[in-house]
């Protein structure tokens, strides 16, 4: 290996060492879908992580919402509508349909 090549290699290694230690899995946020149907929220995904996204899909003919108790998200969903929210904090996030408060669930974000 030439001196020039060795210097380039050392430079690249130095740059790599400066990058934050991030695992490949954590670097890729995932997107999940929660379907609302027959006046019920569908199953809540397990092992949610901060940065993941939820697509709320209202397949009812009624208007619903997905409203977080801690105000971290609030999407209004007309019949057939869908909306995306990104989970920007970890912990247990209780959510409810503000039009039908009996419809509720909890997202557990790691």
């Amino acid at each position: 290996m030439s001196l020039r090549s060795r210097r380039a290699l050392h430079f690249a290694a130095g740059i790599w060492a400066l990058l934050p230690a991030v695992s490949p899995a954590a670097a890729v946020p995932r997107t999940y879908t929660i379907v609302i149907e027959k006046m019920k929220f569908g199953p809540v995904p397990a092992q949610l992580r901060k940065g993941d996204a939820i697509i709320w899909m209202n397949q009812d003919f009624l208007r619903h919402s997905a409203t977080a108790a801690d105000h971290s998200f609030d999407v209004d969903l007309k019949p057939g509508a869908k909306a995306k929210t990104v989970l920007n904090k970890s912990g247990a996030i209780a959510f409810v349909c503000r039009y039908h408060p009996g419809m509720r669930g909890v997202l557990r974000v790691q």
Partner: protein
């Protein structure tokens, strides 16, 4: 009180239907008519509340009733059109309408808190009665899968309405 008598009449109409044997079970066109009528009557009650009540929680409840029952009835109309079913008037629908007319007339003479209390208590009783009929008679009797599914969604919705009405009614005890 005459209002109570009207409620008991409505309950009796649907209780009678609930006791009918298989041979007397309502047909799909009759079920569609009963469900649509029940929804329309609650829309009318909600509109009456919106015209007379100044209470924030009562008005929010009434708006919910008008919005949700209209959505269910729109869906029901689209379904019967798709299925080429003509809703068939029947004794239960007539009885429900008669009882609701009597209740609406009585409520029209009340104002303020007296109106709010009577309206919301009627909503509790009405949803309890209709939900019992849906669960015990209308859903089990429905033959068409799409009609049955719509009624099941309706029952989930109306249980939610009943719980909401009970919650609002507690403030008027």
């Amino acid at each position: 009180m005459k209002l109570t008598i009207a409620l008991i009449s409505a309950a009796s109409i649907l209780t009678f239907s609930g006791q009918a044997n298989a041979a007397d079970a309502p047909t799909d066109p009759q079920i569609a008519h009963i469900a649509y009528t029940a929804g329309n009557l609650d829309i009318a009650a909600g509109k009456q509340a919106l015209a007379r009540s100044h209470d924030k929680t009562v008005r929010a409840f009434a708006q919910e009733m008008v919005r949700d029952h209209q959505a269910v009835n729109d869906k029901a109309l689209a379904l019967v059109k798709k299925l080429h079913v003509t809703p068939e008037d029947n004794a239960t629908s007539k009885g429900l309408t008669k009882a609701a007319d009597a209740t609406r007339s009585k409520l029209s003479h009340l104002n303020g808190r007296a109106f709010d209390k009577a309206y919301i208590e009627n909503e509790v009783a009405y949803h309890k009665t209709v939900n019992g009929a849906l669960e015990g008679t209308l859903i089990p009797s429905a033959k068409n899968g799409e009609l049955k599914s719509l009624l099941e969604t309706g029952l989930n919705l109306f249980r939610e309405h009943q719980a909401h009405a009970e919650q609002v009614a507690r403030a008027f005890k």
